[in-house]
């Protein structure tokens, strides 16, 4: 994953990036390396609220489990980039929300490699975007030739609060094994007008009604997180700024 040359928008993984911000931060430090030993159990929550580029390389050992939760909300440009390698029977869970308004550009780029048989991975990503913000999820799942019985899922949804906001979603599969289960789905939409009207007809101000629905939209991604309540509270506060 280490990019030696300054990337441009011609590089697929940086296609929607704020290249000026990337240039300003260049050269990037070496990616953080996380090694989960065989049978280990790793959990971490990352809150990106300053406008940083964060790169992580993770190797999950045989039979180990890793769970990563991300809230990507801050700064003009915030990027979380993951390269995860799963060994035999390993389990990876990724739950992420990115919430942006104004002219923010937020992105999550993941490469999950099932290198050996019997591993499971599940990624759930929710984006809420207002103003002229851009939210991107580029997620590649690669299944090696002998990684049979791989079970992987990508569930990606984005909600646009304004017609001027942009969501990019690219779930991608590259499978060389022949006995695998790989599901991926993505949807980009707007808040349901009838549901909003229903909530407002009960006396909720429009902003509160939207906030309630958006809260429900992102809430699920933090299930089982180390500090679930804090992540929910931070997400809610950010949603409050957008509606």
């Amino acid at each position: 994953m280490t990019t030696r040359a300054l990337p441009s928008r011609r590089d697929e993984a940086w296609r929607y990036s704020d290249i000026d911000a990337v240039t300003a931060a260049w050269p990037l430090p070496a990616p953080e390396s996380i090694i989960v030993p065989a049978g280990g159990d790793f959990r971490r929550a990352i809150v990106q609220d300053t406008g940083a580029i964060q790169q992580i390389e993770m190797s999950i050992g045989k039979g180990a489990a890793a769970s990563l939760h991300v809230l990507n909300i801050g700064g003009a440009y915030g990027r979380i980039e993951l390269a995860v390698t799963l060994h035999e029977g390993a389990d990876f869970h990724f739950g992420a929300a990115q919430i942006g308004g104004g002219q923010q550009n937020l992105e999550i780029v993941t490469t999950v490699t099932h290198a050996e048989p019997g591993a499971t991975s599940r990624q759930v990503v929710r984006s809420v975007l207002g103003g002229t913000a851009t939210g991107t999820y580029l997620g590649k799942v690669a299944v090696a030739r002998d990684a049979q019985q791989t079970d992987s899922e990508q569930d990606v949804k984005a909600m646009l609060l304004d017609r001027s906001a942009t969501a990019n979603a690219k779930p991608e599969l590259e499978i060389f094994a022949d006995d695998v289960k790989c599901a991926h789905g993505c949807a980009i939409g707007e808040l349901d007008a009838m549901a909003l009207y229903y909530l407002q007809s009960r006396g909720l101000p429009p902003g509160e009604a939207k906030k309630l629905m958006l809260q429900a939209f992102v809430a699920g991604v933090f299930g089982g997180a180390e500090d679930e309540e804090q992540l929910q509270a931070l997400a809610l506060a950010k949603l409050g700024e957008l509606v």
């Binding site: 009960r202 006396g203 101000p205 629905m213 429900a216 939209f217």
Partner: protein, 237 residues
Amino acid sequence: MLKIENLHATVADKPILKGLSLAINAGEIHAIMGPNGAGKSTLSYVLGGRPGYEVTEGSATFDERAAAGLFLGFQYPVEIPGVSNVQFLREALNAQRKARGLEPLSGGDFLKLAREKAGLLKMDMDMLKRPVNVGFSGGEKKRNEMVQMGILDPKLAILDETDSGLDIDALRTVGDGINAIMRRPDKAVLLITHYQRLLDYVQPDFVHVLAAGRIVKSGGPELARELEEHGYAEIAA
């Protein structure tokens, strides 16, 4: 309490209401009946301020600010995944209380109130904790509308076909609920219905027939029975 004068309204530029007038005083229950496509639901949405429903002429004036006293019972209550009934109702009630200059209700006091109203409508408290209307049967959704009405305690309730989708027992429960919550000297109800049956439980003071966007006939409770017997075609003609 509610005064509608020569109301014209369009939906997607199509005229639906064509000069509807109606006055409802405090303490009264009015029923509006009428054939399919007469404009009954449009009337409720116009009064409820739904986007896309445009008033082109005339007016509807309501004594209270809408945020603090109008309740619209939906013909098709909306399912909202992920949003819990109690959470949303507490926020809605407290928003209304704030608009009226009252202190917000604490979690404990709110649950007590919710339990009382759910009991009145014979609805399981567990259902109130579930996401709004998700997986509810048609009858449960309508009961839930009435529980919400009980909790929010409006001055004026417009109930759009609250009786559709209800079995006979549920109809009685809902009818009793409407009476218990809304039959007060300072409140009023506008019932929109196709059938006489609900009116056996909630006795209206006035019955109106709506056809082609206007009220074509008004009378007492006996008008509903006439309609049931002879159909709209004869009465509205």
